[in-house]
């Protein structure tokens, strides 16, 4: 499925729709170039999952940031926001112990998942964001 998101509000609305479908152990992988809007989308999704922290700091240096959230069912969940940009290959991803995040009570949101696409469980939603020529706010989003 491919769709155009015209602005940040539409991105947030899309994230809210996605959040309603999520269950324990789900993984959302976010692909896209620098500035394509991976972090904006990740933050919108965390908000939609009820993450209340005022600051949602970039995981680029820490690699994994953890939060408390709520599923659409009302059950409390934990949210892991990861950035694998600085990881080199799949073994390193494994060494971080990421598999524990692919089970209850976690929902994982992962930027730069290309570093280890084989690591993921079956319950993966892979989203690709692209910017659109000549419009700073518009993004194309592909869910596959």
């Amino acid at each position: 499925m491919q769709k155009i998101l015209n602005n940040e509000q539409e991105t947030c609305a899309f994230a809210q729709q996605l959040a309603k479908t999520l269950k324990f152990g789900d993984v959302i992988a976010l692909s896209g170039d620098l500035g394509a809007g991976k972090s904006v989308f990740a933050r919108a999704l965390m908000r939609a999952l009820g993450v209340k922290d005022e600051a949602l700091p970039s995981p680029t240096y820490a690699i994994i940031q953890e939060y408390e959230g709520v599923l659409a069912s009302g059950e409390p969940c934990k949210v892991a926001h990861m950035d694998w940009y600085r990881l080199e290959h799949a073994e390193e991803v494994e060494m971080l112990g990421v598999r524990e995040f692919f089970e209850a009570p976690w929902i994982s949101i992962i930027e730069w998942p290309e570093r280890a696409m084989n690591t993921f469980p079956a319950s993966l939603t892979h989203i690709t964001l692209r910017y659109v020529e000549r419009d700073m706010d518009q993004r194309s989003i592909e869910v596959g």
Partner: protein, 364 residues
């Protein structure tokens, strides 16, 4: 009754080492891409002391080709160089192991694997020499760094901690009394430099590269946003600034050397203005006229100069660590441990390491 329970639980979680008056502290730092060992010697009664040896190995060259720190590579490198650095400082200081009274070690925040290497090495040294391990918070080290070979401002003061992983404003009430009054809601200032550098095709780390180019650039050529400046709080946000840099570069026909220089100057000016204005706002809000800046980005000359000028206009005194103590080092870890001993502060029981150790949670 409630009060008593709180006091009890606090003392239960913390401990105080019993050491002599005159101490030699060996410190280890390995939280990110610098491996460092240092020895600080001082008198905890007078608070007088000095750094007597330090040795540092940077992995920046190793990581430059990846455009950032690679955690697993970092851990391996720390492990390889730590014993050599420790031998170096012991030889430089002309001390024997039984002269060392305690081992201070960065126990967080940082990369798990990297922290574990330093912490395990510290524990090994401590066990072999029957001396205590003093777990130190990396950011407390940065905060107190201007006191090494200089003097800390009187408490309370405002601190701007700014690096690749952090951007925060802190009200420092005393050793162990840190209240975070502002922070970045997304990217850190140093991260904005790193990512802008990537857009400009410059190597990691971005800050020094941008500073070098900015010297000859025109900071007014590109109109970049000053994020959060209009907001009536002390928070930062640098994610959008990086995106603005990306769009401005994309709109250029060619990214030539002059454009690179102008963009570097424009980014530096935008980041610098936001950091300085928010810091001065923090001083005003807390009614404090002493400001300290620390962390890797505090080595940026443009920021240091701008801060001195703008703070001077408002009668605010500025404390800056020497540039070599802005970036990660072990001297600041040894010094923080010494300061804690001087005021008879407690030390945390950090079980191994705590990659997400909160600064506000520290106690005297």
């Amino acid at each position: 009754m409630f009060f008593m329970i709180r006091v009890y639980s606090r003392c239960y979680a913390l401990w105080k080492p019993s050491l002599g008056v005159f101490v030699n502290i060996l410190a280890i730092e390995s939280s990110c891409d610098e491996t460092a060992v240092a020895i600080y010697q001082g008198d905890v009664h007078t608070g007088q002391g000095s750094l007597i040896a330090e040795s540092i190995a940077s992995q920046i060259d190793t990581h430059a080709r990846f455009g950032g720190v690679v955690p697993e590579v970092a851990s391996r490198e720390h492990l390889r160089v730590l014993p050599m650095l420790a031998d170096d400082v012991m030889a430089d200081a002309s001390l024997a192991w039984n002269d060392i009274d305690a081992v201070a070690v960065t126990s967080g925040p940082g990369l798990m694997g990297a922290l574990l290497v330093g912490s395990s090495y510290a524990r090994g040294l401590a066990l072999a020499n029957n001396i205590p391990v003093l777990p130190i918070h990396h950011m407390e080290g940065h905060l107190l760094a201007p006191g090494i070979g200089g003097e800390l401002p009187a408490f309370p003061f405002i601190a701007l901690l700014v690096s690749g992983g952090h951007t925060m404003l802190i009200r420092v009430n005393g050793i162990g009394g840190y209240k975070v009054i502002g922070q970045t809601l997304d990217d850190a200032a140093g991260e904005c430099f790193d990512k802008s550098a990537r857009v400009l095709g410059l190597p990691y780390p971005g800050g020094p590269e941008i500073a070098k180019l900015a010297v000859h650039g025109d900071c007014k050529r590109f109109k970049l946003p000053r994020p959060m400046l209009q907001k009536d709080n002390l928070n930062f946000s640098f994610s959008g600034l990086k995106t603005a840099v990306m769009y401005a570069v994309r709109d250029l026909d060619v990214l030539d050397d002059v454009s690179r220089q102008d963009m570097a100057a424009s980014v530096e000016a935008a980041v610098g203005e936001v950091l300085v204005k928010k810091s001065l706002k923090a001083c005003e809000q807390e009614d404090i006229s002493r400001l300290l800046i620390a962390g890797g980005v505090a080595a940026n000359k443009y920021l240091r100069d701008l801060l001195n000028v703008e703070a001077g206009k408002k009668g605010i005194s500025v404390s800056l660590p020497s540039p070599s103590y802005c970036t990660d080092n072990a001297a600041m870890i040894a010094y923080a441990a010494f300061q804690r001993l001087c005021v008879k502060a407690c030390f945390e029981h950090v079980k191994d390491v705590n990659p997400r150790w909160s600064l506000s949670g520290l106690r005297l």
